[in-house]
């Protein structure tokens, strides 16, 4: 046990690590109260239409089946803000996989057999599930996800493109992508004495509590939602999902606790996905590489029930200096599941296209791609004109190039061979905005000098408990062992969602504020009474203030690939990321997050592909046997480094978010390396052998 206060940044071991390596950490589907029932979702088997009949007699006859919830008998709920939660309320089927019934049974086996036995008849309508650039239903929305304006224009992009001495005009196509956290979405719900208690696999249980309360007509004090350990989310658990509403409904109807887990292959339809995009990027530059114009246009899809627009053109607004710019999002509603957040929504897909186009421009100009990016560093944010609070892109590019040995490369394509392998290297930039959401925290000191800090943060694998204890201990001037941290319940002071790489900043600001207020209170003197002293604080004010600065994390990825000229297989030999994300608060857990993002980016580049079947009207690759997330053998030499930034315009900790930037730009760096290795520029992901072989 250490006795001196530790400075922020120490590589402290995860607080809940021991529970996780011994298997004692309990996740949402791992609570087993007396009388527990299991709910099994019955998914719609048409892509569009109406239910005309649901026959449940056979299901009810299955031994162990307790009840079957359908739109005919399910409790009515207040219309939720998020239409994906309005399940079993009417006959409409907006997409294949939509829940049309929930079979509730005494065992998992009976629930599954019961679900198989439910007969549903539909009046099915023609469906349309295929995104195309010029789809007639395409429109320009007002805003894209994150509240960004869908369209921004600066100068005259078209005229500038017509006049630019060198131009790139390229269209990139990305299919849908699936979050697939290892823990499937699950909820266990129980009603007792008029109080609804729920264990939910969620990135933010305050939001789940508020949503359930609104839907079921309950007050804040009548619902408790706990998300103690969460097996990943990557955005898909950032909003409440249908299983929590179904579990609560079934528990109310049966009077018994009910657990509902979403089977893996139902997840793509029910928990959101990264929407497919078709992206046209046009760049115009002088012969020395100075950009005159950046134009980035997005076409994407949303569902029939909700507008979600992947904000893929947003990063182009801040990346590079150019007098002229046009960034436009268009969207078409289709008979598809509702898209939503997946790790770095907008940035991950948009930066694939923009950073590939920058590589194309570098090739067209014969300028080194690192150098091209350095030449276009803006003095202020191109879109808003605001100064950057800090901008570490150049530092990351230079440091990464040095560590990677970038300049040893022969810039000519297909110049390096090792037997039948073609070798190449590629680079891409990364960026992610600094976000802050309001949160509250309390800090308590007991007469024995031990502290308890409470905030409804959620640890989805980030190490939130650990870093918040570090922040609290530093502010309190006490060793971390003296601080108990309580997170993961909606009964705690409200916390924002673990998303948008904003968790540590948002909860940490509240924790810091409560802790420093407690220190001030104690400095006033007097003894601590037997019940201790508690101070609470919230950050509504801090979060509502618009910063005069443009605040972003930046990074640079470098990749070396080997392409098998006979099979078309691409292997990443080396991957190196350098990030500038403010102050790193825990070197151990931060490195894991950066690496984790890069691994997911590697999947986006090489293995993860989801195709929309136009006939069947659903994603074809719905499980882990067909949707290939990277496996251990896919990840060889992968390193993450960072440049410490001393930025006083962020928050009391001086930190920027780190959960998402690792995935941003990764796929472009790998694609650019494949181009360098082979000379083939593929403009769609993933880079599978079937796409590459024709060029080899």
């Amino acid at each position: 046990m250490s006795h001196a206060p530790q400075p922020l940044g120490e590589p402290v071991v995860r607080r809940e690590g021991r529970e996780k390596v011994t298997g004692t950490a309990r996740y949402a589907a791992e609570h087993h109260p007396a009388g527990l029932l299991y709910g099994r979702i019955v998914p719609a088997t048409v892509a569009s239409g109406r239910i005309t009949a649901i026959r449940t007699a056979d299901a009810l006859a299955v031994p162990g089946v307790h009840t079957v919830l359908t739109h005919e008998n399910a409790p009515r709920i207040e219309e939720p803000d998020d239409p994906v939660l309005a399940v079993l309320q009417n006959t409409r089927v907006p997409h294949r996989g939509w829940p049309v019934a929930l079979v509730v049974a005494e065992s998992l086996e009976a629930a599954r057999a019961g679900a198989e036995a439910v007969r549903v008849e539909y009046d099915s309508a023609d469906h349309d599930t295929v995104l195309t650039w010029d789809h007639p239903g395409m429109y320009t929305p007002e805003k894209a996800n994150g509240g960004y304006p869908a369209v921004r224009e600066r100068g005259d992009a078209e005229a500038a493109l017509a006049e630019a001495p060198v131009t790139v005009d390229a269209t990139y196509t990305l299919g849908g992508l699936h979050n697939h956290p290892m823990e499937p979405h699950a909820s266990s719900a129980r009603w007792a004495d008029g109080h609804l208690s729920v264990h939910d696999s969620s990135q933010g249980s305050t939001t789940v509590r508020d949503t359930l309360g609104q839907a079921l007509g309950l007050g804040d004090d009548e619902v408790t939602v706990v998300s103690e350990h969460v097996g990943g989310g990557f955005g898909s658990k950032g909003t409440p999902r249908p299983q929590v509403v179904l579990a609560a409904m079934a528990a109310r109807l049966t009077g018994q606790p009910v657990q509902v887990s979403v089977p893996r292959r139902y997840m793509p339809a029910l928990v959101g996905h990264r929407a497919p995009t078709v992206q046209r990027v046009r760049l115009g530059a002088d012969r020395d590489g100075t950009l005159r114009v950046v134009s980035h246009e997005i076409a994407t899809h949303t569902s029939r029930i909700k507008e979600f627009v992947e904000q893929a053109a947003v990063p182009a607004r801040i990346m590079y200096a150019s007098p002229h710019s046009s960034t436009v999002h268009r969207v078409v509603p289709l008979d598809v599941p509702s898209p939503s957040w997946m790790r770095a929504p907008g940035e991950a897909s948009g930066m694939y296209a923009l950073e590939s186009a920058m590589d194309e421009l570098a090739c067209a100009l014969g300028i080194d791609p690192v150098e091209l990016r350095l030449r276009n560093e803006p003095a202020t944010e191109p879109d808003s004109g605001r100064p950057f609070s800090s901008r570490g892109l150049a530092g990351c590019l230079n440091e990464g190039a040095r560590r990677f040995g970038w300049y040893e490369r022969d810039p000519r394509p297909a110049a390096r061979q090792e037997g039948r392998l073609l070798l190449g290297t590629g680079v891409a930039s990364a960026t992610y905005p600094v976000l802050l959401s309001p949160s509250a925290a309390s800090a308590h000191v007991a007469p024995d000098g031990l502290y308890t800090v409470r905030v409804n943060a959620t640890d989805i694998g980030t190490g939130a408990r650990t870093v918040l204890a570090q922040i609290a201990a530093a502010a309190l001037g006490t060793p971390q062992d003296n601080v108990t941290i309580e997170i993961g319940s909606s009964d705690l002071p409200f916390g924002s969602v673990a998303g948008g790489s904003s968790g540590t900043a948002s909860w940490g600001t509240a924790v810091h504020k409560a802790a420093t207020a407690l220190v001030r209170r104690l400095a006033e003197g007097g003894t601590v009474p037997p019940e201790g002293v508690t101070v609470t604080a919230d950050t509504e004010e801090e979060a509502s203030q618009d910063s005069p600065y443009s605040r972003h994390a930046f990074g640079a990825h470098f990749a070396e690939v080997a392409v098998d000229s006979l099979t078309g297989e691409v292997r990443v030999r080396r991957m190196l990321g350098v990030f500038a994300a403010g102050r790193i608060l825990n070197a151990r857990t931060a490195r894991s997050q950066f690496i984790g993002g890069m691994v997911m980016g590697l999947g986006m580049a090489l293995t993860e592909g989801s195709t929309m079947d136009p006939v069947y009207g659903d994603f074809t690759e719905r499980d882990l046997a067909s949707y290939h997330v990277p496996a251990c053998a896919d990840v060889t030499d992968l390193q993450a480094h960072w440049i410490d930034e001393d930025d006083h315009h962020l928050n009391p900790m001086g930190s920027k978010g780190i959960g998402e930037i690792g995935i941003v730009g990764t796929a472009a760096a790998i694609g650019n390396a494949v181009r360098h290795a082979t000379g083939a520029r593929l403009r769609s992901l993933p880079l599978t052998p079937d796409k590459l072989l024709p060029y080899l």
């Binding site: 298997g23 004692t24 087993h32 998992l108 086996e109 887990s261 694998g461 993961g488 997050q593 690496i595």
Partner: protein
């Protein structure tokens, strides 16, 4: 913080044997557990729903992810693919059986020290898989990447990072902890 701790009830009031249910014994982590279960119950569901051993995780229920990995008679298996009733008499080791009281197994120590986990959902499966894998290599089982002739017949296969990566590829980690999982296993491998 779990503000709604529910009292867990397991194997209480199980219905008696019938055409669809049998009574059998599993030897789990050194103790004998008598169960009467539905024949359709997988070993994974027996552990999680009937024995309160939720360390083995359900990531896919279809043998695609490895989160449910446990050891059956010393060999690593996907417990979601085995029917519990068919394991009558088998010796089963789960993540809960690895530590010696408060003393963690060296693999558990290494995973903690290397931060070879984030959300922790794949972790019990990774650790059980690593344990089985170390034995397989010690017993001389080659992998796809083992150069013929590396190991003397019947002798152990040396485990470098490439061998570990190949042999651990049945255990998916969506948090992407792979580089550190490999380091952790290297720390323990002979």
């Amino acid at each position: 913080m779990d503000t709604i701790a529910w009292r867990d009830v397991t194997d209480a009031g199980e219905p008696p044997p019938s055409d669809d249910r049998s009574t059998f014994t599993l030897h789990i982590n050194g103790s004998d557990r008598k169960l009467t279960l539905d024949h359709r119950t997988t070993l994974l569901d027996a552990l999680r729903e009937h024995l309160g051993l939720t360390g083995a995780k359900k990531g896919c229920d279809h043998g695609q992810c490895g989160a449910c990995t446990v050891l059956v008679d010393g060999r690593r298996v996907n417990s979601c693919l085995l029917l519990a009733v068919a394991q009558e008499g088998a010796h089963i080791t789960t993540i809960e059986g690895l530590a010696d009281g408060d003393r963690l197994h060296p693999l558990q120590e290494a995973f903690l020290e290397r931060d070879a986990l984030q959300c922790g959902y794949c972790t019990p499966g990774q650790i059980c898989s690593a344990l089985g894998m170390l034995d397989e290599a010690a017993d001389g089982s080659p992998s796809y990447v083992t150069e013929p002739g590396t190991a003397a017949a019947g002798g152990p296969v040396p485990l470098d990072a490439e061998e570990i990566r190949e042999r651990m590829s049945g255990n998916l980690c969506r948090c992407g902890a792979y580089p550190r999982i490999v380091e952790a296993i290297e720390d323990v491998a002979p």
